[in-house]
C-alpha cells in the first residue's frame, strides 16, 4: 500500500486507517522523495514503527504497528520536540563559540519498555529488550538527511 498523508488545518488524515501503511512522501523541506530509511528501520527486529514527518508540519508517512491517527499524533509530537531541540541548540551555540550540539541531529526518549528515536525528520518506535539502540541510531544517523538550513 502506498499513500501520501497530507495534513490540512484543523483536520487529520482524510485517509482510512490502514493497520500497516507504506507511504511515499515528499519532504517539502528537503525537496526529496524518501522512504528507504523507514523501510530499513521497520525491518529491524523489535522496531514497532518508523516514519517521516515534514518539518513544515503538513505531511507524514509511516510503516509499522500504528494506525494512521496514532502515526499522525506521533508525527506531531516528534516534530514539536525536534523544533524544540533546534531552539535549544541555537541558544547554547549563541552563548559559546563552539558547543558541539549545533546543528542538532535528533533525540531519544526511553520509557520503561519502549524507546522513541528521532534523527532528522525520521522517527522510530522500538522495543528496548529486542532491539539494539546503537544499531538503530547508527542507521538513522547514516541515512537521515540533515535538517534544512533554515533550522540550523
Amino acid at each position: 500500500m502506498v499513500e501520501i498523508f497530507e495534513l490540512t488545518a484543523g483536520e487529520g488524515s482524510a485517509h482510512p486507517d490502514p493497520p500497516i501503511s507504506l507511504g511515499l512522501f515528499f519532504s517539502h523541506a528537503c525537496g526529496v522523495w524518501s522512504m528507504s530509511l523507514v523501510v530499513d528501520l521497520v525491518a529491524i527486529p523489535g522496531v514497532l514503527a518508523a516514519g517521516e514527518f515534514a518539518y513544515r508540519g503538513d505531511g507524514f508517512t509511516y510503516q509499522g504497528l500504528l494506525d494512521s491517527e496514532q502515526a499522525r499524533m506521533a508525527s506531531i509530537m516528534c516534530r514539536a520536540n525536534s523544533l524544540a531541540i533546534h531552539m535549544q541548540a541555537g541558544i547554547v551555540s549563541s552563548l559559546v563559540e563552539k558547543s558541539g550540539f549545533s546543528p542538532p541531529r535528533g533525540w531519544v526518549v526511553q520509557g520503561n519498555h519502549f524507546t522513541v528515536c528521532v534523527l532528522g525528520n525520521h522517527f522510530c518506535f522500538l522495543e528496548q529488550t529486542s532491539t539494539s539502540l546503537n544499531q538503530v541510531l547508527a542507521l538513522m544517523r547514516q541515512q537521515a538527511p540533515l535538517p534544512p538550513v533554515s533550522l540550523r
Partner: protein, 116 residues
Amino acid sequence: MADLDELLALPGAVASFTFDGQGKVLAFRTTPRADIGEMVLDMVSHICVANTAIATMQARGWEYLTGAQGFYPIEGMSFIGFEWSVVSRGQVGIILDNNQADYEVAFAALASQVRP
C-alpha cells in the same frame, strides 16, 4: 549518589554532571578533550529537565490516548547534537563524543546508578 568519575570513564564521555529538579548544576566532571564550560553544563542541565518533563507528559498522554503501555515513566533521554550527545536519567547526565558514543552502555550505566 552518582559516581561522576565512573560515568566519565564511559566510551566517548567528555563530561558528567548532576543537577537538581530545576536544572541547577550540583556537581560535574569534564575532560580536557572537550572545552565544556559551566555555562554550557548549566544550559544542558536545564535542557535535560525541560525535555524530560515534556517527554513525560507526552508519554502519559500517549498511553491514555492509545491504551498502550511501556512509554511511561520516562527513564532516560538523549539530545543528539552534531558532535556531542547528552544522555540523562533522573538528575544525572553525561556528554558523549558522537564518534565514540555507546548509547546502550551510557543508558545502562545511568540506570545502574540512578532511579528515574
